[in-house]
Symmetry: C2
Subunit: 306 residues, 2 copies
């Protein structure tokens, strides 16, 4: 099986994506920073709106469609997971972390609003993610409380010390160290993979699914999450800052372990292809009727490196 | 009605507190930092364990007892709200915020573990709060999903841009400004009050309660939250660093607006007493059979300033 997308499914994905992307942008614009003190709200909106590929929301919505999930639940979860992603970028870019000044082609939040405001905006975005998932008692919603509780559980686990934040801590501790492939994989499983896999699981949680389907979707999400990081490492080497919309070559400059350093450029590309094949195989055994959007999203993640 | 506690109820409170405090410490120790990468877990535990008066958890547990709430739900909520409080202190103390080096008589987290680790520890503590409230599917729990969803909603609202983080943003924007009493009250309603009031509401959410009781408990929480901040401002002037366990006099040094600056020391004390009376009046109209622990907690908050 070729991991590279065919023109037909690429067209299909770009067609499929239009409505979900429009829905997510509209929902984020309606929800982010509203009711916040002026400058904080502005910093929150700056960090979230009008930027990013929205891969995680698309994964939530594609997974939810595959299982026939409730649309409102999926849209809330999609926005919530994007807020977690956005807050992690805001905090990651701060001087005490990566000290980056450019993100999505714009000055980073702390450059634009100051460090204190960036810290608070990130904190408030994380809280808002959970507000979206569990609407207030006076806010009308069709999402069953069991779904709200499950989404809260999945998101918190994916974001926390046994997920994204834990991966960042390992990353921090590993600067300048030689990691084995196992150690590198474990770091990325948490740092990037947990939230990507969590996105798929949250989409799946928007309906009842069989254990078989849930396990297959988890395997799909894990493979895709790792592939995403491998591709990111490749792009950090081969792309320039203008294309990336962020500072290129910073992994090497920061002496960070990467898949390219470990496997070489060709080895990293081959590994990304193998992971894409794993993702497709997982979808094939899910027993779900229509996983085309998920398949196309996996292809798109890999294609970025080719 | 005197707002100052009588010796009898003080004894009663110290007796009542023993079991809740022991339960909270044990639960926090069982939950915080477990499964996290080594240094991150250590920083999280350092930030949370073995320190603090645990006022917020006690409010959750007292409110839950008053309404006959489910003990497991209340304990999870109590720990969750303490984690939100603890993360806010970690981030508040960082150089880009208050730049404080002493907290609860110990070096602050960023002094002990470095800024990057402090940032991540705070982020991970916030996520963990929501993990505690909504246990994973494979974790046994007796908490109904409706309660989990409601607790998630209340905690997220209290912590976010329309709560604690929003109040911190207003505080940040108001350094060096002359605030009116209304503006100062609005800032503290969010910055400190939202989480204290949220604690009471979360306790009340651990059982079914009438609208009357819920409204009365909300009013109690709001009055207590504001009183807490007024007393904090008083203590910042009259106490020394050793007694406080943190740097005293820093509000004036940072040119921050305070109730003492606005009302004078005696005026601030009188205001705290009025708020305590409001809190007691709210309990009296709640219709709940036994609100003694909540009453005693309100008295204890005020007594600190006398």
């Amino acid at each position: 099986m070729s991991a590279v997308v065919t023109p037909d499914s690429a067209l299909e994905l770009s067609h499929w994506m239009q409505q979900p992307l429009a829905d997510v942008e509209q929902a984020l614009s309606r929800w982010v920073g509203v009711g916040a003190p002026a400058q904080l709200g502005e910093a929150m909106r700056y960090a979230v709106l009008d930027g990013g590929k929205r891969l995680r929301p698309l994964l939530v919505l594609a997974a939810s469609e595959a299982v026939g999930g409730l649309r409102e639940a999926a849209l809330r979860a999609a926005c919530a997971v994007e807020l977690i992603h956005a807050y992690s970028l805001v905090h990651d870019d701060m001087p005490c972390m990566d000290n980056d000044v450019l993100r999505r082609g714009k000055p980073t939040v702390h450059v634009q609003f100051g460090e204190a405001q960036a810290l608070l905006a990130g904190d408030a975005l994380q809280a808002l993610a959970f507000e979206l998932i569990a609407p207030a008692a006076d806010e009308p919603t069709q999402v069953p409380v069991a779904t709200q509780a499950r989404l809260c559980s999945l998101l918190a686990r994916a974001a926390g010390a046994r997920g994204m934040a834990g991966g960042q801590a390992i990353d921090l501790a590993s600067v300048g160290l030689q990691l084995t492939e196992d150690q590198l994989r474990q770091m990325h499983r948490l740092k990037t993979g947990a939230l990507l896999e969590g996105s798929v699981l949250m989409g799946a949680a928007c309906a009842w699914v069989s254990d078989t389907a849930r396990a297959a979707l988890a395997a799909y999400g894990a493979a895709l999450g790792l592939a995403f990081q491998v591709v990111d490492d490749i792009l950090d080497v081969v792309a320039d800052s203008a294309t990336l919309g962020k500072t290129a070559g910073k992994d090497a400059a920061n002496d960070k372990p990467t898949y390219v350093a470990l496997l070489g450029l060709d080895g990293a590309r081959a590994y990304a292809d193998r992971l894409a094949a794993e993702a497709h195989a997982a979808l094939a055994r899910s027993g779900l009727a229509d996983t085309r959007a998920l398949a196309a999203l996996a292809d798109q993640v890999i294609r970025r490196s080719h």
